[in-house]
Amino acid sequence: MLTSPTFRRSLLASGSLATLLLLAGCDDLTQIDSVTDPNNASIESVLTNASLPQLNALAVGTEASLRLGHLGNSTNNQVLGTLGREVTVLAQTESRWYFELQGRASPTASINQLDDAAFYNGQYTGFARVGRAARVFRASAANSSVIDATQKSGVDGFTRTYEALSKLHLLMLQGDNGIRVDLDNIERPGPFVARDAALTNIRQQLDEANTNLGAAGSTFFFPLSSGYAGFNAPATFAQVNRGLAARVALYQKDYAGALTAIGASFYSRTAALGLGPKMVFSATTASDAGNAYFQVADGSPSALVSVPTNFVTEAETGDLRLAKAPIRTTPLTVGGITGVYEARVFPTQNSPLDIIRNEELLLIAAEARANTGDLAGALADINVIRTRAGGLPALTAAQLPNLEAYINEILRQRRYSLFYEGHRLVDLRRLDRLRTQVAPNQTLPFSTTPFKLFPNLERPAAEKAFDAANPTP
């Protein structure tokens, strides 16, 4: 039996198979090298023992990230500008700019709610990434042995300020929807909190950052771009932090708190209105970007950012700020809407974008002073804006008979001074004036049926789905 030919052949076959398997057993043939990312650095490489150049790169990335919400197919100032009727985006190939975002389903019908996953939610992720970049930088710095506690405190102050800015931008998009404020665990973030709670959290984070900056020594070890010229040391960066705190306090209607923050900021009635930190652009540098709000004068691009006529007709005669919305040589009509004026806020594609500037601080101060009874102080701030930004005559106290008149005037100055910077919708929303007749001689176009005004964007579908699957206990 043992010697049957069949068996012997089987034995031979098995032997051959074994040989083949042995051959296959050679390391070269059976071992696979683990593949590392050939195209990018990894997060793991910085989270422990980051080197100084790596920390510097994280700082650059955090600063650069603030531009993300202003880049791409959907930009913050265009979306908020459309919702606030500052601009009308006449896009030849995207009718949702002038249909959905202006509340219409068709030339004649309204919509009930905005899309929760359309392209125009894009900047949500962009701004959320600012917070992520800041948190990764902070965690990497904390785990690095190449910097000392003072330097780490500088990173804390810088990153917490950026994180607060990230949340503030998200809240401006979401309004009464609120935002998540506890974001440390990416797989288990905290729940959404209402607007007021969110503002409180942002304010606290800014205050904490300010404390950190106070313990950060005289210089940051990491570089900041030329956009931070004059604000690139802990002490001066803290002035920026306080400016942002003033903005948040204003939104909280904490006028006294706003004035305190203003006092610690770079607010000045005499300094340049444009004073303040900026996002810088360089369209022609690799992995840098251009200013997406720049438009070629009188062009006919596929998406023209036009300015509704009432921006010009409701302005005071001679307002220098109308230069931001010059008349086109030939009007452009898309989807039945004619753009007679176009947004021309920036002279070049490399023009910087303000993060916060003296002009806004003056307006915050005016509003806070008016609301705390310091009408004279408010008038002084208003007149700095009127004369220096608008080239308009100063007002007298007699011309502003009551608080309402002050608020109307401040709202009007904010409209022209902060045009196309994402403020209009936020201002109208917080002052509960998102309606056709905002104030005397201030109206919202495209606001009657079938047009419809939306105070904020819809909460993104991914957020809804996440909460549906992870209900809060």
């Binding site: 069949t6 052949r9 051959s16 198979l17 083949l20 043939l29 696979i32 090298d33 683990s34 593949v35 990312d37 195209n39 990018n40 650095a41 990894s42 997060i43 910085v46 790169a57 700082a59 990335g61 531009r67 197919n73 030849q92 190939t93 949702r96 004649t108 709610q113 929760d116 359309a118 992720t125 959320a128 990434r129 992520r132 970049a133 990230s166 990416i186 797989e187 570089p223 771009s225 652009f281 369209a283 022609t284 540098t285 690799a286 992995s287 251009g290 062009g299 006919s300 596929s302 998406a303 452009l332 039945g336 809407i337 009657t448 079938p450 579908a461 991914a462 789905a465 909460d467 699957a469």
Partner: protein, 1010 residues
């Protein structure tokens, strides 16, 4: 008497032995019963022995047969096997009938073994060269498969020259990877990626916000490089149970392509010339304008303010002035752009032949196709040399070598945010616009869109050239053969290398560019792929006792896949030519490197009991560098059983050729995509410094492969000498641990974990095939095949929040959702309502399924008087749904053919009524169709006429005329019901945004054999 008898009895064995020693020669010719033409390569075998020969190029053979021989068996793929008793004849000529089911044909059963079709436990479709391109010439090899494989949904996603094909076998098998099957060409793991060049990126059509390659590039599938006329056969392993032996590459099925090889005998030269033309089969048409229509087009809102009235009046007056200026000169721009006729030419020459030791097949083909848009087209030049060499008795070597160069010029179509996509711009272009080039050669600005489409046709560039070579070598060493057992070693190695160079350019003085901060864009993109594979198998055939045949095999496979996708792009171009990034001020570039390695080990045991019960068990162990742990083996088992009830001799039914029940189970895998384990820090710079920015995605270092398990049952019946064949298959394929992004809360700044096992997806379906030869006579033969199949998908497990899949354009237009109990290809969309749809994803309304209710195809061929052959293939896709935005664009532009009509008589014209974003149903449209996909008539010149014309210099002359997409019946309101903006994307749900119109193609054929 007794003595004599005894003597005879004693002598008889001696006589027999002598006879056995005395061979005699038999010769003859094997012809096709239908045409009377000789068939080369037919195996002529003495029954019960290994003595045999092949017919040469004219079908003739000569064979030395032992005197004991009683019967000859004639067999060839595609023909019915027949037997003839020898008797005393020295000449035996036979006519073979084509066989729709090919029971005797062998199909792949392992990586190095084959099995007779009648013993298969799976449904495995094999498409012969004749079925593939015998009727007409579809654009590409994969297009030619359409309607010929039961269970395969093959759609031509773009009408652009060079095609764009999506092949899906048995439903969705993955969400993130490719749902396109694995292609194996002569043993080489072929490059089949559809990779874009950036035509949809921000600098070009801007369809996508991305800067690099996008899924809206209207890319070509690398399969378009293959020359269909070099293909001998295509075998399709549809599900995991059949494809398990391919392990972790086979989740979407496997398509095995064999190219043609030489036959021993006289050298055969074949020359084929096709000429033809292509034309869009469907244009959407236009509607001309009147002052009244302009008034309707610019409606006054209810209770208009003075400003609103003024604005509307201004619009109306401006357009009325333009209309008056046109002076009745309406221009059909669609016709001007898409209405051209493309000339097509295809020339092919092949030489094959050889001796018993050496066989060769050499071919060269050149194809040139013009597109229906001027300055678009596709060309392919290919050469192939396949050589088989026997080294002594023990060793066979085969070499397969192919090189091709394909070029395409595709233009810009599809989605757009810049104004260069032709279809998009046309939708908004009223017929009274005057955009023709002026006397100075300049194109006027298009006030109705981002650019002048006539200028885009003339001046925009989107070209790609691919050089590709595939090389394969196979060696078989028969280590020993003794009696009924044999051991052989089969080794194979191959490479597939392709390098594509694309040029995209929009000159700086185009309308769309002049208004940009950095006018003019040019991109030189390079896509390089290199696949290599090496495998070795030991195969042992043996018997156990009486009637049990066994085949054992073990082997190993190693794969390497590398790619380099890079580009250099320049914006802000200097005027004039050359269009090069060198001449720009804003240069961006990207290099994307990928590399991966896979290793697999296979063992398989087949058992065959007298062709009655055939069982197979096998297992494959695979590891891949794409998995989280690159050296962890994953196991993919298989088992199958076929029972040939007909062979048990239980009943004596001569009419019954085959009655088989079969069941098969198998598992396959798909490793995560490249980079799934990485958490990148992307590069960003500001202020002149370079920085790190955490990506929106994080990796999963623990990710393992997706796994598909499939159970398949079937029944095969063949009757009346295989003149009636029926095949029924039911399958249940469950794709487990599907990898997808795990969508996180985006406020964290991380939108997703790149790869996460999100759940299971079940695909169930039925595949039926009924074929036969209803009529077979000397002067008339009718072959017919009817295929019917459908697939149903359902998510059976989900471990993450429900999420959107596919690539739709948001809730207004329809999107797909991965949610428990639902099909991931079903459409969801507006209206969203918490009360009406409390449980759906984002409270969206549930709409129809994108996958068809069923597919059917009906193939017939008639041979008349051995000379005339008429064939056609009719395809029916029932109730599939597409998200169609094309009509909306035209309605918005007032250019729809029926814009001013009012179908429901409610006083609102169609064109405005349809611009209704309240319900996505408006855009989710039925794309079912009935299409005469292929039809052809061929005529073979009678020998007498041929001889009188050409004096026997030519052995065969065949002429024909054929067509592709000749007739289409559909209610779909777009260019073509098969189109898909996103190409061969992972989701089966198609989106149509003014895609390149599909074409009807007509050919004239001439075929000469020397």
């Amino acid at each position: 008497m007794r003595k004599v008898l005894l003597t005879a009895a004693l002598l008889a064995p001696v006589l027999l032995q002598q006879a056995a020693a005395q061979n005699r020669q038999i010769s003859g010719q094997v012809t096709d019963r239908a045409t009377g033409q000789g068939i080369p390569g037919v195996t002529v075998l003495v029954k019960g022995t290994t003595v045999g020969a092949s017919t040469n190029s004219d079908g003739s053979y000569t064979l030395d047969v032992p005197a004991t021989a009683t019967t000859l068996v004639f067999s060839s793929i595609g023909f019915q096997t027949i037997e003839r008793s020898i008797g005393t004849a020295t000449t035996i000529s036979v006519g073979l009938s084509t066989d729709s089911k090919q029971l005797g044909e062998v199909v792949i059963s392992g990586l190095a073994t084959t099995i007779k079709r009648e013993n298969l436990a799976n449904t495995v479709t094999t498409v012969s060269a004749k079925e593939l391109v015998g009727v007409t010439r579809p654009v590409t090899m994969d297009a030619a498969l359409s309607g010929k494989i039961v269970g395969a949904n093959i759609a031509q996603t773009s009408g652009a020259p060079g095609g764009g094909i999506s092949v899906q076998l048995r439903g969705l098998s993955t969400l993130t990877g490719s749902n396109q099957p694995l292609y194996i060409i002569d043993g080489v793991y072929a490059i089949s990626a559809e990779v874009g060049n950036g035509a949809g990126s921000a600098a070009f059509t801007g369809a996508s916000g991305g800067a690099g390659r996008t899924n809206q590039d209207n890319g070509t599938n690398r399969l378009s490089d293959l020359n269909p006329s070099d293909i001998e056969s295509i075998t399709v392993l549809k599900g995991s149970s059949a494809a398990a032996i391919y392990g972790q590459r086979a989740n979407a099925g496997v398509i095995i392509i064999k190219t043609k090889r030489g036959q021993a005998g006289q050298t055969r030269v074949s020359f084929t010339q096709d000429i033809g033309f292509a034309k869009a089969w469907n244009l959407l048409g236009k509607e001309d304008w009147t002052n009244d229509k302009i008034d309707t087009f610019f409606p006054l809102p209810a209770n208009p303010t003075a400003a609103q009235t003024a604005s509307v009046t201004a619009n109306r007056n401006r357009e009325k002035a333009a209309l008056a200026a046109a002076n009745g000169q309406f221009i059909d721009y669609e016709k001007e752009i898409f209405g051209n006729t493309g000339f097509i030419r295809n020339t092919s020459l092949s030489v094959s032949g050889g001796s018993e030791k050496t066989k060769f097949y050499v071919s060269g083909t050149t194809t040139d196709e013009e597109g229906i848009v001027k300055r678009t087209g596709f060309s392919r030049h290919s050469i192939r040399a396949n050589v088989d060499q026997k080294l002594g008795d023990k060793i066979d070597l085969s070499l397969s070598s192919g090189y091709n160069r394909s070029q395409n010029r595709r233009g810009f179509t599809g989605n757009d945010n810049v104004g260069v996509s032709l279809g998009y711009t046309l939708a908004y272009l009223p017929s009274y616009a005057q955009l023709q080039r002026d006397d100075l050669g300049n194109f006027p600005n298009n006030p109705y869109g981002g650019d002048n489409p006539l200028a885009i046709v003339e001046r925009a560039v989107n070209e790609e050239t691919t050089n590709r070579t595939n090389q394969a070598a196979t060696g078989t060493w028969r280590i020993f053969t003794k009696g009924t057992s044999s051991l052989r070693l089969s080794a194979q190695g191959g490479i597939d290398f392709s390098s594509s160079d694309a040029t995209l350019a929009l000159p700086a003085d185009l309308q769309s560019q002049r208004n940009l901060p950095n006018p003019g864009a040019v991109r030189i993109a390079k896509n390089q792929f290199f696949n290599s594979n090496l495998q070795a198998f030991l195969i042992y055939d043996w018997t156990l006792g009486e009637g049990i045949n066994l085949t054992s095999q073990v082997g190993s496979v190693r794969l390497g896949l590398n790619s380099n996708l890079s580009y250099s792009q320049g914006q802000n171009l200097a005027p004039g030519t050359p269009l090069s990034p060198n001449r720009s001020s804003l240069v961006t570039q990207q290099v994307l490197l990928q590399s991966e390695q896979d290793i697999g080990h296979v063992a398989q045991q087949e058992v065959n009991y007298r062709d009655r019960i055939i069982g197979t068990v096998g297992v494959r162990f695979d590891k891949s560098s794409r998995n989280g742990d690159p050296n962890k083996y994953y196991t993919f088992p298989r088992a199958s059983l076929a029972v040939n009830i007909g062979n048990f001799g239980l009943f004596d039914l001569p009419a019954l050729n085959l009655l088989k029940v079969r069941a098969a189970y198998g598992e396959t895998g798909a490793p995560a995509f490249f980079g799934a384990t990485f958490s990148p820090l992307t590069n960003v710079s500001t202020g002149g410094r370079v920085g790190f920015l955490p990506s929106t995605v994080v990796g999963n270092p623990n990710i393992g492969p997706e796994r598909a398990t499939e159970l398949e049952f079937g029944l095969d019946v063949s009757l009346f000498q295989s003149r009636l064949n029926f095949e029924a298959t039911a399958y249940n394929k469950v794709a487990k641990d599907l990898i997808n992004t795990f969508v996180l809360a985006p406020s964290t700044g991380v939108t997703s974990i790149q790869a996460f096992p999100v759940g299971d997806l079940q695909n169930r379906g039925i595949e039926l095939s009924l074929g036969g030869v209803p009529v077979r006579s000397d002067n008339f033969t009718w072959n017919t095949t009817t295929l019917f199949w459908f697939n149903r998908s359902e998510v059976t497990r989900i471990t993450v929040p429900a999420f959107a899949t596919g690539a739709g354009f948001g809730s207004s237009f329809g999107r797909n959702v991965f949610a428990l109990g639902e099909s991931p290809t079903r459409w969801y969309g507006n209206p969203a309502s918490r009360t009406d749809n409390p449980n759906t994803f984002s409270n969206l309304t549930r709409f129809q399924e994108a996958q068809p209710k069923f597919n059917m195809s009906f193939t017939n061929s008639f041979t008349i008087a051995k000379a005339l052959e008429v064939s056609f293939l009719l395809a029916w896709r029932k109730d599939s749904y597409v998200s169609n935005l094309s009509e909306l664009l035209k309605d918005e532009g007032g250019t729809t053919e029926d814009w001013s009509q009012d179908d429901d008589g409610d006083g609102v014209v169609n064109g405005q009524q349809r611009q209704d974003f309240s319900s996505a149903q408006q855009f989710i449209q039925n794309s079912g169709f009935v299409r005469l996909r292929e039809a052809g008539i061929y005529y073979t010149l009678p020998a007498t006429l041929r001889a009188s014309l050409l004096n026997d210099a030519v052995r065969n002359i065949r002429v024909g005329v054929s067509g592709n997409n000749l007739l289409t019946f559909t209610d779909y309101r777009g260019y073509d019901p098969e189109v898909s903006l996103f190409g061969a994307q992972s989701s089966a749900a198609a989106v149509d945004v003014t895609s390149f119109p599909n074409t009807r193609r007509i050919f004239f054929h001439l075929n000469l054999d020397f």
